[in-house]
């Protein structure tokens, strides 16, 4: 018998596999984790506190920096919350532009996840493929709103820029191109035996604990719960489009991989329809007073971001600044289940499971 001693191992906060400044302290018995304690807050910038002294328009660029991999959805959730409070009607063209950028963003975000996840578990080249395609989306965004990561594209009541000439055609051309590339990805990775051995049956949880821990997005849908806010509590103009909500039942890392992969395909489907129905012309901004003062009251809006349900809770006192602004950050909520999943797993699986949850630390720490 070999006697092993308990070992306390500190992973992070600076570690390539933690996707940011995330620290986790694990107790190891040999190779097996017996206890895991996540430590977060290294990237806490106090967005909610800062927002109390800023006007609603000024807060929007701060939301860009929360989930910096999918800034468009963050922009939208805040604008949507203020618009709900003010009962604003958004022009058709602006809604379409918003929807198109949000779906492009979902694809871009999932591509980042796909590339980095495979990088985490040892496959170098998929990362380069994923970023090649993401670069095209980022370039499109750059043309549209003048930034590659922190877009600050949406405003309360509409969007800042109209689509430049030929931009919609670029999106149209991108759809078949991306479909072709997805087939390539599937050939490259989805059947790979090493990959399957690393992800199948790892980090499994059932639907009940997923609901109990408040998971959302692909993390929830991988357990068989068919819940997608775009379908179940539609916002924007999602109810006009025909798309499926991908669901898997296994609840392991492989199921989450499949759900996200399928979501890219569904986003392409939405994009295809949106580009076809895109209105010829029209306003891109609703009539909004220059100083935005939503009526006194409270509102909670939620939308489906690539990582799950992102929500925005505003308490307004009829001032240009929010009295209290709280974001329900999907990565923060999803991360809670991690210690539970890690117990009994080996050290190598820590990376697989953490990557599978898909967190962005800017969002975890707010």
């Amino acid at each position: 018998m070999i006697r092993t001693e308990e070992l306390l191992l500190n992973v992070g906060p600076q570690h390539p596999s933690t996707h940011g400044v995330f620290r986790i302290i694990v107790k190891l018995d040999g190779e097996v984790i017996t206890e895991a304690t996540p430590v977060i807050g290294y990237l806490h910038r106090g967005t909610e506190k800062l927002a109390e002294n800023l006007t609603y328009t000024q807060v929007i660029p701060y939301t860009d920096r929360m989930d910096y991999v999918s800034a468009m959805t963050n922009n939208y959730v805040l604008c949507h919350a203020v618009e709900t409070l003010m009962d604003l009607e958004i022009p058709e063209r602006a809604e379409f532009l918003r929807l198109i950028v949000m779906e492009l963003q979902r694809i871009a975000s999932h591509l980042v996840w796909w590339g980095t996840y495979l990088l985490d578990i040892g496959a170098m080249s998929p990362f380069l493929y994923a970023f090649r395609e993401r670069e095209m989306i980022v370039n499109m965004f750059n043309e549209l709103c003048g930034a590659r990561l922190t877009y600050f594209y949406m405003r309360v009541g509409g969007v800042k820029w109209d689509a430049p000439e030929g931009w919609i055609d670029k999106v149209r051309d991108f759809i078949p191109y991306m479909r072709e590339k997805l087939d390539e990805y599937e050939q490259l990775v989805s059947g790979n035996e090493i990959f399957l051995a690393r992800v199948k049956g790892v980090g499994t949880y059932d639907a009940q604990s997923a609901i109990d821990f408040g998971l959302s997005g692909a993390n929830l849908r991988s357990t068989g719960v068919k819940f997608d806010l775009r379908k179940d509590q539609p916002y924007s103009i999602y109810d006009r489009f025909d798309f499926d909500v991908p669901v898997q039942t296994a609840g392991d890392c492989y199921a989450r991989y499949l759900v996200r992969f399928e979501e890219i395909k569904q986003s392409l489907r939405i994009l295809e329809q949106a580009v076809e129905q895109f209105p010829e012309d029209g306003q891109i901004m609703a009539k909004v007073p220059r100083v935005i003062r939503p009526p006194e009251g409270e509102v909670y809006t939620r939308i489906e971001s690539p990582r799950g349900e992102i929500g925005c809770h505003i308490v307004s006192k009829k001032k240009p600044q929010p009295y209290r602004l709280k974001f329900r950050r999907p990565s923060f909520v999803n991360l809670q289940i991690l210690p539970k999943l890690l117990v009994g797993e080996t050290m190598t699986n820590l990376v697989t499971i953490l990557g599978g949850i898909d967190i962005v630390l800017g969002e975890v720490d707010g």
Binding site: I40, G41, H44, G46, E48, K49, T84, L85, D87, S209, I211, D212, F213, G214, S216, V225, F227, D232, Q233, P289, R290, V291, R293, P295, G297, E298, V299, Y300, T301, R302, E309, G311, H313, V315, Y323, R324, K326, R328, F332, V333, L335, Q336, D365, G366
Partner: protein
């Protein structure tokens, strides 16, 4: 300069609008969710206590969301009931926010049912006094509340008795004060 001008021009319009709104509310039919709210209120009153509910109302601004303010001593029991009862099955806690109202604290819970199929939200509020704020923890009911309560404790200083591990989560462990309080003064303003 021109900003201020705009404001004065706008204000009378807005206040007019508000008056209209109030008038509308009076004549308006009861909200479609009124029924649902009444049923929940009835359920809590019969199963928990007559005075468990402080007030119940419909939040028209937020898509007619049913809101119920629960008195904090009854909160854990009520939470259990909301989760377990056949009628509601509110098994998904989607968001917890803490608000400092200067006169009191308020913790707002947004609940949803994943199993009954009629995915309608319910909003529950629990109040705590300003001097020594404390609200019973519901981590044992919904695990989601765990980190959310820690965050509220960290940033607002609301105590959650019954929480398994009520430590600071965002700020360093030796941080002084609770930053999201309205009267928070940083010790070192440079930080």
């Amino acid at each position: 300069m021109s900003d201020q001008k705009q404001v004065t021009e706008m204000d009378p319009k807005e206040s007019k609008k508000n008056i209209e709104n109030i008038e509308e509310e009076v004549t308006e039919e009861p909200s479609p969710n009124q029924d649902r709210l009444d049923r929940i209120v009835e359920l809590i009153k019969t199963n928990i206590a007559e005075d468990a509910i402080e007030v119940a109302f419909i939040n028209e601004l937020d898509r007619d969301l049913p809101c119920i303010v629960i008195r904090s001593p009854y909160w854990v029991k009520t939470a259990m009931l909301l989760k377990e009862s056949e009628l509601l099955k509110l098994n998904y806690l989607r968001n917890v926010s803490g608000i400092d109202f200067e006169t009191h604290f308020e913790v707002v819970y947004y609940l949803l049912s994943m199993s009954t199929g009629n995915q309608l939200d319910v909003c529950i509020k629990v109040k705590a006094d300003r001097e020594n704020p404390s609200i019973p923890s519901i981590t044992s009911v919904w695990n989601t509340a765990n980190w959310n309560e820690r965050e509220i404790y960290d940033l607002l200083g609301v105590q959650f008795p019954g929480h398994p591990n009520l430590k600071r989560i965002m700020m360093p462990d030796d941080w002084e004060g609770h930053p999201l309080r309205k009267d928070y003064e940083p010790i070192d303003p440079e930080v």
